[in-house]
Symmetry: C2
Subunit: 321 residues, 2 copies
């Protein structure tokens, strides 16, 4: 049985070079690569069992791209993903890759080399051209070609928020959040659902949005409170921003919910103990985490998978009437 | 050059068995193991370069044991550990192992087999007998033999909290938190520092503690508010518990800090926007995360390492006078 040494010898290259070609890692000139591949074919070289074992069995590892572990929704999601992966016999590599496209590319490259089994991507980086639906990748809240994704019913959640504000007597409502010029995420559907429901109900609405990521959230919120004094109901893109808005409004002695109703999105458990208790649209975070793993494993088994959109729920707190 | 097939043939065993002995994974009877090892010696078998590469270079991976990603202090610490590991060329496997000793043992076993490079353990499981100081392991806040650890100055923090309560006019102070019968952690020094400083200052103090993990934190806090109405200053073991105490006290119309001063421990950024802003003893979380990685890498390089205890800082918020 031919060894890598035989391959290197026949190709007239060093062991390291032969290894780089075999493992598709590191730079090798096209000419040298050709020589090594010819030697492999001629000798019928197969990387040995032990090496294969490292690639296939021992490497039951999934990389999780996480934008920021500071955001409690993502940490809760990461928790359930890791728990479900563990139950299925996979390890999870955590990759905090907010704004670091290169970091994600490193793992995408490892995936191509079979060094990780799959990727679960909560990613806001421009990686469209690096991945495709033939790879074992599932995304959260994001559309890239035919790559499967998991999300909560963002559109339905947006409609639900408008409906609640309307039914509790708000007359001048606003959507507060972000937009992206470069990538399309499911999150934008929160705005779309809100907007469509406002139109259907014949309610005037304001969109108060800034490009993601917002540089200074506190200033963004103060500017809103300074300039939109007539607004009596706001649907905020996520709980963290909604909570800060509650605090800043209270500092200005704006009474909540009487003068200003506020609804968040996420339903983060970490914040459940805070007062006033935030009214929010709850994403089923545990279900989403576990179904991400299910989808990925189906994909690894060669099954057809389609996006999964999970229903949301309105949790009434103390920030709506 | 002998291959694993040659080893298996000479030992009269299957390829899988030979591989298990070579990789020290899975069960093989002592007798069979002996046969395989003899064949290895006789043939001068060396696992091939590619296989070695998988074990050594590609496997620059550190496992992080995390008790709960729901606790914002741990997620912040995990964030900095991952960031620093990435800078040093290591991947990080996240292992949420709260109350799951077996999960930690799996990684300790992988460490013994060189399948992970090292372990950073934020662990409250009884793993004393499974690890020792010769292994590349560093711990957070915990003492197990000579294994290096990183912590904040818990003792100094406890003293500092008492000092602040005393200087701001509190006369009946309490320490609120947990204790463990089974493991000794640095966290207990928060209590010790508080207690010693109270004695030095001749101040009466109450210890209000329950065995970790507290089953129902809300009930624990209500019981305190029901039974200790004379107490006017509390130092709480962590920010999360302190924040809930603030909320429950406010629900009872206890004015903070006039009637009750509250100091937390951690200084979590996630909570910085909340009102009333919590007075707290801040752990230098970024520094701690990065120094854990430094210690581990020194250990991997065979250097002598000693525990690192980082100074803390009092952050005045609105819950102390």
């Amino acid at each position: 049985m031919a060894t890598i040494k035989d391959v290197a010898k026949l190709a007239g290259v060093g062991l390291g070079t032969a290894s780089r070609v075999i493992n598709d890692s590191g730079y090798v000139s096209e000419e040298t690569k050709k020589k090594v591949l010819e030697a492999i074919n001629k000798l019928g070289y197969v990387p040995n069992e032990t090496a294969r074992a490292f690639v296939t069995q021992d490497n039951k590892t999934v990389a999780l791209f996480l934008p920021s572990i500071h955001h409690a929704f993502f940490s809760e999601l990461a928790y359930y993903i890791e728990d479900e992966l563990d139950k299925k016999g996979y390890k999870m590599i955590l990759c905090n890759s907010s704004g670091q496209k290169e970091k994600e590319l490193k793992y995408i490259n490892m995936l191509k080399q079979n060094k990780v089994s799959g990727i679960i991507g909560i990613s806001y980086n421009p990686i469209e051209n690096e991945i495709n639906h033939s790879m074992p990748i599932v995304l959260v809240d994001r559309h890239i070609g035919e790559i499967p994704y998991v999300s909560s019913d963002n559109y339905g959640g947006g409609k639900m928020a408008l409906q609640v504000l309307k039914e509790t007597g708000c007359n001048h409502v606003a959507y507060m959040g972000t937009y992206s010029k470069t990538i399309f995420t499911e999150v934008e559907k929160r705005l779309k659902g809100f907007e469509d429901a406002a139109k259907e109900n014949g309610i005037n609405y304001t969109l108060y949005i800034e490009e993601d990521p917002i540089k200074d959230q506190t200033t963004f919120l103060h500017t809103f409170l300074n300039n939109y004094k007539n607004i009596d109901g706001v649907f905020v893109e996520n709980d963290m921003m909604a909570l800060e808005l509650v605090q800043l409004a209270q500092d200005r002695k704006i009474s909540i919910p009487e003068e200003l109703s506020i609804i968040g999105y996420d339903g983060i458990q970490t914040y459940a103990m805070l007062r006033p208790k935030l009214s929010t649209i709850r994403q089923p975070v545990e279900l989403m985490g576990r179904s991400l793993v299910d989808l990925l494993i189906k994909k690894l088994n060669g099954e057809q998978v389609t996006p999964e959109i999970h229903p949301v729920q309105f949790l009434k707190g103390e920030t709506t009437r």
